[in-house]
């Protein structure tokens, strides 16, 4: 609802740059935004409860179907980039922890620092220039739905996924490293070693499994961040997801669209957190719900 406190008139966004005050007033009335805030809010909420997210005040698109069209794209992007980040981050984190304070650790940690400190738009633009323009390995074009051309769809996904995974995998790596270093000093690890288990088995079965708990909660957090925070990547690569819908909504003060997208992102965030808590239980029986 904060969006309404931001100055800026959606009616002006609709009628254009040099419209007169009279025209803006007419448009405000037509859009229904001249009514008191609470009235608009309850009308909207009533619609939501009946399963109607309303219509965009800028282009009359039904918001529900807009979100439905884009939510899959957002899921695709966030889940794939999180998976990629896990595949890169956890093994590297383990390596860094095992070889702590030796050359591999320094290399991996430096890479992580670079990954963390490079903003998404830099990574994205560089990837685009290298793979799209210089090497021309990957096409850079209009979004293609998976069903109409699976190959192109996947090709188009690669760069945005890598861009998002760059910083996420750095975070994962650091968390895994820290958590592993903590766990390997625990008594049960020493016990396992004392039993004469092979080092690899100790690390994988005993240490890593316990070290993953904070990483899992991190995955939850990162997923939630990615859901709403892929704006830059979506803009650079023309990927139609929820964030760009939200951004367009904020820019034009399209209140119903902003409200609906925020609601959906909030619900998804809650669901992700719920899922994370359930995974905790699987990883560590001690924190299962009784």
């Amino acid at each position: 609802m904060l969006i309404r406190l931001v100055p800026g008139d959606p009616a002006r966004a609709v009628v254009g740059e040099t419209a007169s005050e009279e025209q803006v007033a007419i448009m405000r009335q037509r859009l229904g935004i001249d009514r008191p805030f609470h009235e608009q809010y309850f009308t909207w909420m009533g619609g939501v409860l009946r399963g109607d997210l309303g219509k965009s005040i800028i282009n009359s698109d039904p918001i529900g179907s807009q979100i439905a069209l884009r939510i899959g794209n957002t899921f695709e992007l966030t889940i794939l980039s999180t998976l990629t980040a896990l595949l890169i981050g956890i093994p590297l984190g383990v390596v860094a922890a095992v070889k702590a304070n030796r050359a591999p650790d320094f290399v991996v940690s430096t890479l992580a620092m670079v990954g963390l400190s490079m903003p998404g738009f830099v990574v994205g633009t560089v990837l685009l220039l290298v793979f799209g323009l210089m090497l021309r390995w990957l096409p850079q074009q209009q979004y293609v739905p998976f069903l109409s051309n699976p190959r192109q769809h996947v090709e188009l996904l690669i760069l945005p996924v890598l861009t998002l995974a760059a910083s996420t995998s750095a975070v994962m790596m650091r968390m895994t490293r820290a958590s592993m270093l903590e766990v390997v000093r625990q008594d049960y690890v020493r016990t396992a070693r004392a039993k004469g288990l092979q080092n690899g088995i100790v690390l994988m079965r005993h240490a890593l499994r316990n070290a993953l708990n904070p990483v899992v909660s991190l995955i939850g957090l990162e997923l939630a961040v990615l859901l709403g925070g892929t704006v830059i990547v979506e803009t650079i690569f023309g990927w139609p997801g929820l964030s760009s819908l939200l951004l367009a909504g904020v820019r034009s003060r399209d209140y119903p669209t902003v409200q609906a997208v925020v609601l959906v992102i909030a619900v998804l965030t809650i669901l992700i957190n719920l899922a994370v808590d359930l995974v905790y239980g699987l990883l560590d029986p001690r924190i299962r719900y009784s």
Partner: protein, 600 residues
């Protein structure tokens, strides 16, 4: 274990505690929000169909498309009246009969194209913004304007040289000072197969003039008393007082002719399109593409050459240019100035642009001290080296405005004023001193949303220091900026735009008391009001020339606002894109796409 590990450990402990507290929160939130949230989520996923169905699909012709009854087969393109020097094309002369306005010019693209046009192919167009909607009479920016221009038609339009020509009009001209007549082409078809009638045109202008439409051109058509159908497919615009800008407004891309039947059928013209233009609207995938397909029965039989156009929104400047350079798209608009050199040097690409239109300015709120003092405003005008600003702000892709704002070649251009606002820091300082404003500290508002506005603002701030003006630049997001400007809370702001049409009357928006920008900065000057009213009511070109020269001299005296630089603006395309010319007449340039063809 070293320090590093200790700090990491505390990090992970923190993670665990936060997870525990979240759990208890979740339990409550789940109970409270679950029902609502799930309903919403289900609703969101319920309607997976595309929102913009190809509603405007025209029925397939059952018989062979009859040659449009009376479309005149034009003689070979020899320069007609309308193709003479710019003046001839400027607000039509008061000819008693309709001035010859060659639809021929539009139908003879080959001469400009440099080769025999080939038919076929789909143009991939990288569009700078996702069109917010398609409402034909309310302008929502250049991007949607470009798309609308391909689906709808206006009565008049521009040719490659920027001259006013007939479009749906077979001929047009002034019958007398207060009556403008347009003769419609016969046999023009809408995409649904129905024929364009006089009634559609009258309906269109009544829709524009209806306050409830909030149409962009309504204020510009305020002098129109009545629009009526005459004999021989004529449409007459009867004015309350003469207005030389009328033909320009009719050519504006917010004066699209719509089908009465179609609008009345209850369609939502924001979401779909149906007109008489060269291309039919197929679908819009928000954020992804707007797909247009060739209209086989377009009123100029040989046009368009392309089978279709796919507009792909690419709001990121770098991504748009990269897409063009890597061959993913064929054509892009709004080439960022940082990339102009790269494109011009490329052997595969062509850049077409002009510097006569887009310009930036610094405006004053005239009832706010200290800028209510004309000496302070003059100090601002003299306190900037605009050549350097163009270099800094646009990497040299811009030109200084040191005299009048009317560009060379237009009615009202005056050479006398050139160089008047060259930098003179000493004079600026002494003017400030006279006004008792030495070492002036002042807030300057601008917008961060558009670099074409923010970059000159930054350059202006740096320049003004030398004149003893310490500007504190405040950047706001676009709509916030708009609202702040409206409220007049900042004494100075920097903005940029382009003339609404290529006639000096566009300045009335800025300097006459009823003008949009003038009202915003609370500027009023009786002399200018009088001159601009006179200029608008005069149709004689020589007389108008004098009037607007006088007006610009007056503007230089009272300094209602300060002009900064004109920016270079244009489109870039692959070499095989032929037939496209950049029209230096503003947002109308995309009309050339109907004559564009692919040489591959």
């Amino acid at each position: 274990m070293n320090k590093d590990n200790a700090s990491n450990r505390s990090g992970s402990v923190h993670m665990l505690t936060s997870a525990v507290s979240r759990r208890s929160f979740l339990r409550r939130a789940g109970l409270l929000g679950g029902t609502t949230a799930m309903t919403a989520l289900l609703a969101a996923c319920q309607q997976p169909q595309a929102p913009a169905k190809p509603a405007a699909e025209a029925p397939k012709p059952t018989t062979a498309p009859a040659a449009p009854a009376v479309v005149p087969t034009p003689p070979p393109a020899k320069p007609t009246e309308a193709a003479k020097p710019a003046e001839a094309a400027k607000p039509a002369a008061p000819a008693p009969t309709t001035a010859a306005a060659a639809p021929t010019a539009a139908a003879k693209p080959a001469a400009a194209a440099g080769g025999t046009p080939k038919k076929g192919g789909v143009l991939k167009y990288g569009l700078s913004t996702d069109p917010s909607n398609f409402e034909p009479h309310v302008s929502t920016g250049a991007a949607s304007g470009a798309v609308k221009l391909m689906v709808y038609s206006t009565l008049l339009t521009y040719n490659a040289k920027g001259e006013l020509i007939g479009n749906l009009a077979e001929s047009f001209g002034w019958l007398d000072n207060k009556t403008f007549e347009v003769k419609l082409r016969k046999g023009v078809l809408f995409h649904d197969g129905s024929e364009l009638t006089q009634s559609d045109v009258v309906f269109t202008f009544n829709r524009i003039l209806d306050k409830a439409t909030a149409a962009t051109n309504a204020p510009r058509l305020a002098d129109v008393d009545v629009v009526e159908a005459g004999d021989n497919n004529a449409i007459r615009f009867k004015l309350k007082q003469s207005n030389a800008t009328l033909p320009l407004v009719l050519a504006d891309n917010s004066s699209m002719i719509v089908s009465e039947k179609w609008i009345k059928s209850g369609v939502d013209p924001k979401a779909t399109m149906m007109g008489t233009g060269p291309f039919k609207f197929v679908e819009r995938q928000p954020g992804v593409a707007v797909v247009l397909q060739k209209f086989d029965r377009y009123f100029i039989p040989e046009l368009p050459y392309l089978d279709g156009i796919t507009f792909q929104p690419m709001p990121d400047d770098n991504a748009r240019v990269t897409a063009l350079r890597s061959g993913s798209v064929d054509f892009i608009d709004y080439v960022p100035y940082t990339q102009m050199d790269v494109i011009q040097k490329s052997n595969d690409l062509v850049f077409k642009a002009d510097t006569s239109l887009g310009f930036g300015w610094l405006a004053f709120v005239h009832d706010a001290a200290p800028v209510s003092d004309v000496r302070v405003r003059q100090a601002f005008a003299l306190g900037m080296d605009r050549d350097k600003m163009a270099e800094v702000a646009f990497s040299g892709h811009g030109s200084a405005i040191t005299g009048g704002i009317i560009p060379e070649g237009w009615v009202g251009y005056t050479k006398d004023l050139e160089g008047m606002f060259k930098p003179d820091y000493e004079k600026a300082k002494s003017l400030l001193k006279q006004a008792g404003q030495e070492n002036l500290k002042i807030d300057i508002l601008s917008t961060s949303t558009y670099t074409v506005i923010s970059r000159p603002a930054e350059a202006a701030q740096a320049q003004l220091k030398q004149a003893g003006i310490d500007g504190n630049l405040v950047m706001q997001e676009w709509l916030t900026f708009r609202q702040t400007v409206q409220a007049g809370t900042f004494p100075v702001h920097v903005w940029g735009s382009a003339p609404s049409f290529n006639d000096p009357d566009f300045l009335s928006e800025y300097v006459t008391s009823n003008g949009f920008f003038a009202k915003q900065i609370k500027f009023k000057d009786d002399t200018l009001d009088k001159l601009f009213l006179e200029g608008r009511q005069t149709v004689d070109v020589a007389k108008r020339n004098q009037i607007y020269q006088d007006a610009q001299k007056r503007i230089a005296e009272v300094v209602p606002w300060v002009y900064l630089i004109r920016r270079e603006q244009g489109e870039a395309m692959q070499k095989f894109v032929k037939g496209y010319e950049h029209i230096a007449a503003g947002a109308w340039t995309q009309i050339m796409l109907r004559e564009t063809w692919l040489d591959k």
